[in-house]
Amino acid sequence: MLAFASRRILQSVPTLLAVVLLIFVLFSVIPGSIISSMGDDGRGPMDVQVMERMKKELGLDDPIHLRFTSYLGKLAQGDLGTSFRTREPVTSMIAKRMWPTLQLIFAAMLLAIVIGIPLGFVAALRPGGIVDTASMVVAVSGLSMPKFWLGLLLMYLFALTLGWLPSFGYGEGKYLILPAVTLGVSPMALLARTTRAAVLEIMTADFVRTARSKGMSETRVVKWHVMRNALVLILTTIGLQFGALMGQAVVVEKLFSWPGIGSLLVDSVQQRDIPAVQGAILVAVLFFLIINMLVDLLYVVIDPRIKYT
């Protein structure tokens, strides 16, 4: 197991390097820079001399290969550089934003797991029934509904019409509910559909038929055979969704003024704050890789047949 984990960590290094290179090159060749973005609100032109000085100060005049090697050197020491925009260390900027993002992602995923998996199970146990049809309609709607629109609908209903929750902001639990639901609906729907498909497939498997023919009760069949076997696929979906949520949180964070990495990324991209963009994306990729590695390790716990050497 330890050898497997070490191997996975080593395997993720080229992935991270590729991401770093891609973002660096991309943001170096596309038009626009932090300097041009400082006057993009049309409030007044940036002073020419200040612009020139800023180029020097931020090293934007240096050749791309020099900037990249310098960045890699710092990265190897755990330094993500200094934000062009705020002049703060990117590590410190991300650290401030990490907890709110994790709060949001974990809350959304919790909602998805608690509702999505049971819904998928219930639907699969009575295929074609009312619960199945209703839950799949909800699931398809949840998957196809744009998060921005859903968020606004929830704001309108629970904040403006019912007055139960605040429509935006960051603070104690009540502020988390609407953003988490908005973010959690899509993985919930996917989990429900995946669970249903997995359970339906396993219900027709030979070992389930054998268990039933041995006189095992339906509850025990589901509990001991169907659930455990379905969990592998469900866990894979959870892992993928968990990792992807950090990227999806961008829209939700911006809509609800949630101070996470997503809203940091939006402004950093718009203002061409390359170190902050790289740092934020690197963290998102790292998060995705870690979650999926943990999922791989959990397979062993769920299915003893799986062995890593």
């Binding site: 002073d47 612009m51 000085r53 800023m54 705020t86 403006l160 940091l264």
Partner: protein, 528 residues
């Protein structure tokens, strides 16, 4: 003059008048919104010139001057009086002796000198350098040739003499937050940016990046009895739809409205009274690059202005949230000429001008635009069929706002559409078209006209303000006649302000920028 126009802004007047008729109440919380992005740039306001950042800076920091919305001009803020030398270049400021920084120390002349010297640090890139450079000797500090700004002399702890390089009103240069006065003993410390100290009416409490800034009343603020409110919260809300819900839900006190919301709020009996509007000092226009052949011909540029039904676009697409541009300088400019009339919509005349210029069948050009709803792609799309009718074909080049800004400054465009600050200083606004102004500064159309240069140079040399205004008006009229741009509109800034928030000022330089010490909330505010 500007005040008259502001009054004419209408709905906002009622709100201001009501506010002044009531006795301000102390206490409560002001809940403002910052709508121009998903975060603030920095708490070190010397490093940023973005409108978004000045919203909170109005609470934390103070500059030598401040914008007085009622007078429509910058007025002294950190000085009690200023005297000007006979040559009009040396201004002697008697600084306030009752201004305290948030850490309790009194402001002195040393703080002003230290702050301006910091802004001119040649190894850094503080946007305020463009203003401080006006002081004699500041450029030498910037270049590393001197350590002190020779034009800044401390006479005593509360008196400073400032010698300028040009005969201008320093108020226009030293009222924005980019030239805020920092405490010399704290400003250089590393932790300053995390917990800034200023001279403003509110002191720093908390910054949640990407969400909000919280400030609380500073008891030693130099204006007796002010600020009225106990707390001020600036929430970052870049999504208009989310702001709309929050405003209707009474969670915020102010919200910036776009064209669609402007119409919706006016049509809603409950919200109509909350709408406040002012003509801001921004001119939306299509700049035509004179280095691109068809646009080097004045007749072609005039044809563009005649071919577009500007009023129709303002009425139908911009939903009336703009004032028709009648020249470069906006309605709220102190030298705005009311007698000037916009180009008529006359496509026959446009065709005739094109034919005279040698383009009887029109031509094709590339129009660079951002997606902005008020001065971007939607406007371009509305104009395309109008130009098509006179034979002009448009190839649209859509880019992000930051890219547009880059391309425009480099002159890498045939035509662009943008919103440009055209005030409050008319001289500075017109200087963008002086032939000595490079494209990278703000002469984006590559404008060059000897007569225009002469008028501006004379205006810069005269000490007679009436004569200067006359010369600038002439220059503005000449510019309109030369039509380097399609004169589209002046921005009508519109905000919704909750009825319990009083003292809201119709700031023509940027409506979201409020002198927050004058704001107060009545007991009907749901915020504690």
């Amino acid at each position: 003059m500007l005040h008259k126009f502001v009054i004419a802004a209408g709905l906002g007047l009622a709100l201001t008048a009501t506010a002044s008729a009531q006795t301000p109440r102390s206490g409560g919380t002001i809940r403002m919104t910052a709508p121009y992005g998903a975060s603030f740039t920095s708490l070190d306001i010397h490093t940023t010139q973005r409108a978004q950042d000045e919203i909170f800076a109005k609470g934390l920091f103070r500059s030598l001057y401040i914008w007085d919305s009622a007078k429509g001009e910058p007025v002294l803020e950190l000085a009690k009086e200023a005297t000007v030398s006979d040559d009009g270049l040396t201004h002697t400021f008697k600084l306030r002796d009752d201004a305290f920084f948030h850490h309790g120390r009194k402001m002195t002349a040393d703080d002003l000198i230290w702050s301006y010297t910091r802004i001119m640090d040649g190894s850094k890139s503080y946007p305020g350098a463009r203003y401080v450079r006006l002081i004699k000797g500041a450029a030498e500090v910037e270049k590393g040739q001197a350590k002190e700004i020779s034009g800044l002399k401390k006479i005593d702890d509360f008196t400073v003499a400032m010698t300028l390089t040009e005969r201008v009103n320093p108020g226009f240069y030293f009222f924005t937050a980019t030239t805020s006065i920092y405490p010399a003993d704290e400003g250089a410390k590393e932790g300053f940016v995390q917990k800034p100290i200023g001279l403003g009416p509110f002191k720093f409490v908390e910054h949640v990046p990407g969400s909000r800034i919280v400030l609380e009343k500073f008891d030693k603020f130099y204006k007796p009895g002010k600020p009225y409110a106990d707390r001020m919260i600036v929430s970052i809300m870049s999504e208009a739809a989310a702001r709309d819900v929050a405003f209707r839900n009474k969670e915020i006190d102010t919200s910036v409205l776009g064209p669609a919301q402007y119409v919706a709020y006016q049509a809603d009996a409950n919200l109509k009274g909350t709408v406040v509007e002012v003509p801001e000092v921004f001119t939306r226009h299509m700049g035509m690059n004179r280095n691109h052949k068809p646009f080097s011909d004045k007749r072609v540029r005039l044809a563009m202005n005649y071919a577009i039904d500007t009023q129709l676009i303002i009425d139908k697409l911009v939903k009336g949230k703009a004032y028709r541009a009648t020249s470069w300088l906006p309605i709220t400019s102190p030298i705005y000429d009311k007698s000037m009339k916009p180009y008529a919509f006359d496509q026959a005349k446009a065709k005739q001008l094109l034919a005279e210029a040698g383009y009887p069948n029109g031509f094709e050009f590339e129009w660079t635009t951002s997606p902005n709803e008020s001065w971007g792609l939607p406007i371009v799309e509305a104009v395309i069929p109008m130009l098509d009718k006179v034979g002009i074909k448009v190839k649209v080049k859509q880019v992000e706002a930051a890219v547009l800004s880059d391309l425009v400054r480099k002159g890498e465009h045939q035509a662009y559409i943008w919103s440009q600050a055209t005030g409050p200083d008319p001289q500075a606004a017109l200087k963008c078209f002086h032939s000595a102004t490079p494209t990278s500064a703000c002469n984006y159309t590559g404008f060059k006209d000897a007569e225009f240069d002469k008028l501006l140079d004379e205006a810069g040399q005269t000490g007679d303000s009436a004569k200067r205004n006359q010369l600038l008006q002439k220059a503005n009229a000449l510019l309109f006649d030369e039509a380097p741009v399609w004169f589209f509109n002046y921005n009508k800034a519109v905000m919704a302000v909750q009825p319990w928030l009083k003292g809201f000022q119709l700031n023509a330089t940027e409506l979201t920028h409020q002198n927050v010490e004058d704001l107060w909330v009545d007991p009907s505010s749901p915020a504690k």
